[in-house]
């Protein structure tokens, strides 16, 4: 992945910035519009990213709005239930996402999880289109296993920006360094035991045995998101925060 440049809405991407393609097809990511035959325009402001391997380009817009797409892992909060479905909120002020009451591992009409209004679930987006309500599920529909999805008990949820959530979920590269540049979770995990679930919709759920450790992890994540710490700054902040506990 390479090359970022800041663009404004309505700017045309010059052909020199487009990644080379093998079959002549380009994949356009979010916030780009194609006018045939060969004009590509931006629709929001942000930085342009290209991926030469996949022949893809997209605009990284730090606007803080999460748009559901199929396959995303999200932390959803149940708002209310109706017959056979729970209505869950992924982000405030948007339409509810539908979670079927049987969309859990090993659930059938006789045994189904009893979830109340306000409970949290870790789910995967099943379908997302602009015309219909978003549907989410708490198990892998092809294998029938949970794979870590399902209700989240205890702990606390912290709000982060969707861009930071994406960085947290990027994984590690070959040398074991985090690709998104965030080392908070690994470093704190060496000293404190906790569970964490990162939702692409800008929510992260943290549960440790005690309140202090949960709060420390959550505040470190929120601080890293808001202030944009580099790896060294993150290590320094982690040390200052964990010192009073040991």
């Amino acid at each position: 992945m390479a090359t970022t440049s800041v663009l404004l809405p309505g700017e045309q991407i010059p052909p020199s910035d487009l990644p080379p393609t093998k079959k002549g097809t380009l994949t356009l990511g979010p916030n780009l519009r194609h006018l045939p035959p060969s004009t590509i325009l931006t629709t929001t402001s942000g930085s342009l990213h290209t991926d030469p391997k996949k022949a893809a380009l997209w605009i990284d817009a730090p606007h803080g709005r999460y748009q559901p797409s199929v396959g995303d892992l999200v932390v959803a909060q149940i708002h209310h239930g109706s017959t056979d479905t729970y209505h869950c909120a992924l982000t405030p002020h948007t339409a509810y996402a539908l979670l079927g009451q049987l969309a859990f591992e090993g659930a059938n009409k006789k045994t189904r999880p009893k979830l109340e209004s306000g409970d949290l679930v870790y789910a995967r987006v099943k379908t997302a289109s602009k015309w219909e309500d978003v549907e989410i599920e708490c198990f892998n529909s092809s294998t029938g296993k949970a794979d870590g999805l399902g209700p989240l008990k205890g702990g606390m949820v912290f709000n982060i920006s969707p861009a930071f959530a994406r960085r947290l979920m990027m994984g590690t590269d070959k040398e074991g360094r985090s690709k998104g540049g965030v080392v908070v979770l690994e470093e704190v995990g060496e000293k404190v035991k906790f569970e964490v679930a990162v939702g692409r919709n800008g929510r992260v759920w943290v549960d440790s045995g005690n309140v202090a450790a949960t709060l420390v992890v959550g505040r470190l994540l929120m601080g890293c998101d808001e202030k944009g710490w580099s790896v060294e700054e993150q290590r320094r902040e982690i040390e200052t925060c964990l010192r009073p506990m040991f």
Partner: protein, 319 residues
């Protein structure tokens, strides 16, 4: 306007306190004159992200001109423009609303009661609703609505200080509540600030729209008429004025409002208003880029975003 029965309103009247001065203080009674060139715009301050709880927001101000008189009287020679805009959305429409395949845009423009020399009411009156319709026309041409079916977007504009229709020293005939020349500068400012707020909210736009004004003014001594950009009504005797909302990359006008008698110079007046819109677009570009820097779009993962404190750099307004 229907009477506002829910509130106990302040006495209707002026919003500026009376100033008592010695007779013979001629400085106070000087009509302000335009010190800039005919195609020069006043400096504009535009910043985004002023309201953290809204999807997008922006603040637009034309700062007060430095007073040329040295006796430091408190009465400003001309009013200035202060507009704030918040954008909420895209939000799902209520369940009982009709199906709409495109984003439903609703604009609300409101003058604060203290915004003009004559105190305004708390309920929107006809001129504010008219401004809202003009603004909606300007913005509708630039938003890509088909990405957001069954959703609505609300643009709320509050004018904290509006431009006057004329110099306060003249006898003001007719109330300010009807659309005077000041409303046209207000509309141009509203278009620019709404555009900045929409981009801040991340709503898909075809281009950046900016508002510009031009006026045909009459010089009383030389009895000639000329076209000036960004008119300040107290400084001129305005015969006709035009406001446009202009998309520069596509060379399109989404909204045009013209008032007064122009005769054959209609096209020239429109062209000059387009030139004014191109100049305000440079300010809009800088404000949007500064907003992006604050959010950290312009850095690698290890760098820290620059904090938006202190003053930004001044931008030359060129077309």
């Amino acid at each position: 306007m229907q009477a506002d029965r829910r509130r106990i309103n302040a006495p209707a009247g002026g919003t500026a306190a009376p100033v008592f001065t010695f007779t013979g203080n001629e400085d106070l009674l000087q009509r302000p004159t335009r010190t800039r060139k005919a195609d020069e715009h006043r400096k504009i301050f535009l910043r985004t992200k002023v309201v953290p709880s809204a999807s997008g927001s922006a603040y637009y101000e034309i700062p007060p001109a430095k007073s040329t008189s040295s006796n430091g009287n408190l009465v400003p020679a001309a009013s200035n423009l202060k507009i704030t805009c918040t954008v909420h959305g895209p939000r799902p429409l209520p369940r009982n609303a009709a199906f709409s395949p495109n984003l439903l845009l609703s604009t609300h423009v409101k003058f604060a009661p203290f915004a003009t020399r004559q105190r305004r009411g708390y309920i929107r009156d006809a001129s504010e609703r008219d401004l809202g319709v003009h603004l909606e026309t300007a913005l509708r041409g630039v938003i890509i609505g088909e990405r957001w079916p069954k959703s609505g977007c609300e643009v709320v504009i509050t004018v904290l200080e509006g431009e006057e229709d004329g110099w306060w020293g003249d006898q003001q005939q007719g109330s300010e509540k009807s659309g005077g020349w000041g409303m046209m500068s207000v509309l141009a400012g509203c278009i620019t600030v709404a555009s900045a707020a929409l981009i801040d909210a991340g709503i898909d736009c075809v281009d950046m729209v900016s508002g510009g004004t031009a006026a045909l003014v009459r010089n009383p001594e030389s009895k000639t008429e000329e076209v000036v950009l960004d008119p300040s009504p107290p400084e001129h005797e305005i015969k006709a004025a035009c406001v446009v909302a202009y998309l520069q990359s596509r060379d399109e006008i989404t909204e045009m409002w013209m008032k007064g008698e122009v005769g054959e110079g209609t096209e020239f007046l429109t062209d000059q208003a387009v030139k004014s819109a191109m100049m305000t677009r440079t300010v809009l570009v800088e404000a949007v880029k500064e907003g992006l820097e604050v959010e950290g779009a312009v850095e690698s993962f290890n760098g820290a975003p620059k904090a938006a404190k202190g003053k930004g750099k001044d931008v030359d307004m060129t077309d």
